[in-house]
Amino acid sequence: MKKLGLTIFLDAFALMLLGLIIVMSASSTYSVIRFDSLFHLFNSHLFKVIVGIGVMIVFSALPYEIYKEYSKPAIIVIAIVLLLTLFFAQNIKGAGRWINIGFFSFQPADVAKLILIIHLAALIEDKGEAIRDYKEGFLYLLFWVVIISVLILIQPNVSNGILLVLISFVMLYIGGAKVTHLFGSAIMFLIGSGIAIMLFAHSRERIFTFLNAVKHGGTANIQVKQALLGLGSGGIFGVGVGHSMQSNLFLPESYGDFIFAIIGEELGFIGSVIVLVSYLVLFTAGILIAKKTKDTFGQLLAFGITFSIILYAFINAAVATGLVPTTGLPLPFISYGGTSLILLCASVGILVNIAYTNAKKENAVNIIPSTSVMNEGE
């Protein structure tokens, strides 16, 4: 267990280090032109990485069981914050998703995502077998999923909202909800989000350009086209760290949502696959932690967090390679970005804590085989 916790910590740490290097390389041109300093964005990113590691350590030290008690007030508070964001947030990139508190702005959606995962895990444990009952259990769980994701969707932050629903549903699925219930609500939700996508211009455009591109066999949009040029010029071995040409403003957001393309350009096919494998390793370790964890809350929390990380990572890579429409989601641990990185660190801290707490229990009890715990939930 401890090894799994360490694996996750080291894996995340390695990805953040890589992130620092790639952000430096990818942001320097933009920094010079926009801010007249090679290190402007890098410094800001470095600061957040340091804060993030601090947060990670703090959260790995906090016993995860205590979240159960605070999850309900926390989710109420974040729901209110999201509501306020709708009215007061600054309008950035066509989406009012940022809120400014003093020295930095953050996305309440990132915080809401983690709180929802925690609260869902707590609720599923709380409901137990009742989750299979639509009115008594499932609907009660669905309530918070709908509240939080709709508040995020209408910010509008469609892709984050949809992913949050997906994470929630996977948690409900793992937690034992009836497939029919899930399907029914999924269909309802698809209709709802379809309407949401069409309501907001920027998400509507993205879908249309993607569909157009698929129809005409072209590339989705300029960003994806430039991302493909970056990945392609990397070849098998890459052009070498710091030698990316695509980051010279050809690829917009090269240090943010499209950083995967720069990784592919500088480190080649080998580098990009290693990065994907790193996420897979983190995912496997997370799943194993979940498997070995004795309480349902811990299991579902570990699973939810792990799943959300790999989901974001793979969706991001899928966007950069043109497999899915452009979403504007960061690559976990690597992309330049504030709130999401710090929240990711908090998540990893929680995972590590779950691993270490359960390792202690393992040592203390030392009789129950871990597999029997897994069966408990069924």
Binding site: I174, G230, L231, G232, M245, N248, V273, K291, A318
Partner: protein, 668 residues
Amino acid sequence: MSNSRAIIIIVFILLVFAALVIKLVDIQIVRSEELKYYAQRQQTNLEKIDAERGMIYDRNNVLLVYNRNDYSFYLDLRMVSNKGKKKIAEKFSSVFGKSKNYYYNLMSDSGKIICLEKKAPGEKAFLLTNFKINGLFYKEDPTRVYHYGDLASHVLGFVGTEDQGVNGIEKAFDKQLGGENGTRLVERDAIGDMITVAEEETKPAVPGDNLVLTINKTYQAILEEELRKGLSEYGGTAAIGIIMDPNTGEILSLANMNDYDPNKYWEYSDDERRNRAVTDTYEPGSTFKSITMAALLDQKLVNENDKVFVENGKYKFKNISIFDTHKHSWLTVKGVMEESSDIGMAKLVQNIDDDLFYKYVRAFGFGNYTSTDLPGEVKGKLKKPNEWSQFTKTFMSFGYEVAVTPIQLITAYSAIINGGILYQPQLIKREVSHNGKIVMEFSPKEVRTVISPQTSAEMRKILVGVVKNGTGQNAKLDFITVGGKTGTSQKLINGSYSKSDYNSSFIGFFPAEKPKIICLILVISPEKGKYGGFVAAPIFKNVAQRIINTDVKYFQDQQPDQMKKGNDLKVVFADNKKNGKENLVPAGKPVKILGDNLGAFATDEMPDLINYNLRDGIKILNRLGLKYKVNGSGIIISQSIKAGEKISKGLLCNIDCKEIKINGASVY
């Protein structure tokens, strides 16, 4: 937590992973080369390095044209903030002295990249070296500088916005001056800023060659000043002047008035920028009589002292009347030239047949390009004999029905006075590479020999007479003998000859015995004076006097030297009376006159040619089928084959002639 359900999720994740890896194989391995190609195409570009344009010097290495290192300032409006715009407006307004609003107006443009200052001089640009604003950038933008403004503008020409030669030498020698642009492979970012330069792909620019012209800057300035002065004094739509070295064809000066400033060529009309000296033709009028006369003399068809009845100023030729301005009854051939008698010329030209006359005119370069280096040259108009009407030859003899360019005329005159050799007008002395190596030394180009040195000497004498006694007296200088010919031609306007518009011209040369300078002055439609002798000759005189004053010794020292050497020149400068006596035919030996009795000569026996005039002598020799070599002109005083000797066709006979002044008697 359900194990089986977890496995489904894990399988799903693994499928996504597999899909991603497959996609990456496709992008990064299968399509790598193709994508790399497109990426490099947008990331790099082959950038031109402009070669520095060569400089232009006058014949004494006075720098006429060079380049100034200017800088142009541009602003990318997509990159600049409002604060930046404010800073730019303030800074630029303080440096360039324009109002802030001027710059605000520029910056309110909707374009992407605007030019704030074009070709700002280096010292101003220097003030902006440390002024950095997002989106503001500059480029080296050298400016061609014509140091003396409008001086020699029609010779030099000018360059267009891309530094390409548009006119004059700049155009004709664009390739030599332009050098070879280099290239460098530059990696760029999306907004085009340079990132790196691939040194191994760089081909440096080779600066253009410098040109040394045959132009003499001092003469050019004199010519332009005098033309300008003349134009304001006599009026007229334009004035043209060319100064040439008749012995080499080198153009020493060439000017058109009005002229233009190549530094600001856009402020002038095409009309002002046109180099009329090569692009415009005109009917030369009397100046063309020298061409006719040279042909007649060269063929020994007239003698300068032959007498012609000039009909008291009005002559009905076929059904057309020809009038003379100066009315006379009898004139010598020399007199015809001096008094510029059209009637006399019309009569004399009947001695030469059409084809031969055409051959001479053609040989003098009319109806053809002189191949001067100046662009836009035209051929003029010379009809072929089969296109001639019954009047063409007659009219052509005094300069109508033929259109010439000033450069053609001065080139032909050079041949008339330099001993008979037609040179190609030359404008470039040498081409020197940027590092001082002589690429090419241009030497005078002989086109052909048109007339014999003797004819040339006779022509010089006749033309000296024109200035001394005739219509060209206004060109007379105090200490240097000048030869020349005036020309006044009615302008052909809409197919008929104008009564009010004239081309007034004068071509003169000096020192007459061994000409160093020949100069053509043409004033188009003068308001005052009308005649070449009253308008162009005085301008010529001023130019000549001032040129001589620049180097009195150079022009004077030659004189005594030439007196000694040139035996045929002696005649020209010797006192007429004295000479006349010397040359008088001894008493009792009257000059023979050839009648219609040519058939009386036996064809196998050499006749006595002594005391025949040369022209008749040659007629006889031609009839006998003898070859001959003539020395001198005038009356035949000796013959190598003695009279009565047996002859056969093709034999060579040397004939010596002597000038004889016959007072008051017609040789006819």
